[in-house]
């Protein structure tokens, strides 16, 4: 029971962190980064 409550608390904290990230516009930042070709990944940079 203790472990279940612990996991639930962790889940709530995780969701809260996720929402903070979304509110800070980090999805757009992720999208902007992902939409640029990564020359490092290719081995050019």
């Amino acid at each position: 029971m203790k472990k279940r409550i612990g996991a639930l608390i962790l889940l709530l904290i995780s969701i809260a962190i996720l929402l903070i990230g979304i509110k800070m516009g980090q999805i757009e930042e992720t999208s902007n980064k992902g939409n640029l070709i990564c020359l490092d990944c290719i081995g050019i940079a």
């Binding site: 992720t30 992902g34 070709i37």
Partner: protein, 296 residues
Amino acid sequence: MHSFMNKFFSRNNLPQLNWFGRIFSFLMINGYWGVIKNPTFYQGPLKGITLPVLNCYSCPLAYTSCPIGLMQHFLEIRLIPYYLIGVISTIGVVFGRATCGWICPFGLLQDILYKIPGRKLQIPHKLYYMKYLSLLVTIVLSIWMISPVFCKYFCPVGTLEAGLPHIIWVPEFRPLLTWIFGIKFALMIIFLLLFVFTKRPFCTTSCPMGAILGGFNKVSFLQMHVSAYKCTKCDICREVCPMDISIWKNPKDLDCIRCGRCVVGCPVNAIEMTFRSVKIAKLNVNPILRESDTQG
């Protein structure tokens, strides 16, 4: 609902479900087939999504962003990646490291290549700790060098999924190749060869994503359970395990990817996968008990 889940996730269905899940997710994550007409890569709002699997966001087919590439980007621009931490921890708390076993395209490739018949080798388990070093080095060097060092110097996923296709399809890139590509290409070939002879060598020794997700196996809702009463310690679970671990020794093993092959492979049905109170991959045949178990 419980009976539906028990039927759906019965141990007989599990291998098919696992293969279907991985192929389906591979096609979902890497589904931009428009690239055949126009040799570029997907650019759009879906790149804002990141999943806890290693899949290069510069892969011409990729719809989603790579979490390790993203982590390095946020470290470079000196921002705490709340979104990334939130995604990884939310999925990790619920499923543990199951995304490695059910979604990761690179894991799928390793499992397919391991099916090639031939002599198989075992990776010493001490090398499994290298992935934590890989994660630590990635974080420290990304901050220090302000560069995505994992993608730049090491990642065989990036070389295979992004480097090679772009070089083949975009001739303008070819004269720009540096010695770094040579190193990455050699590493990729070494890994591809290792995939044939050893079980998931990249996941066990090098994957920083696996190193992060493994910690959630201790607390996740999705858990493995081994019945001490039924288990004969025959270690067949290790033989069938793609990560080469003995789940009976530690059901919360950091390297367990919750693929369920041990559930199916256990000859005495001692292993179960449970979602906290709800049993999934439940036994649907009578367990074969040892004589010693039935006596006294």
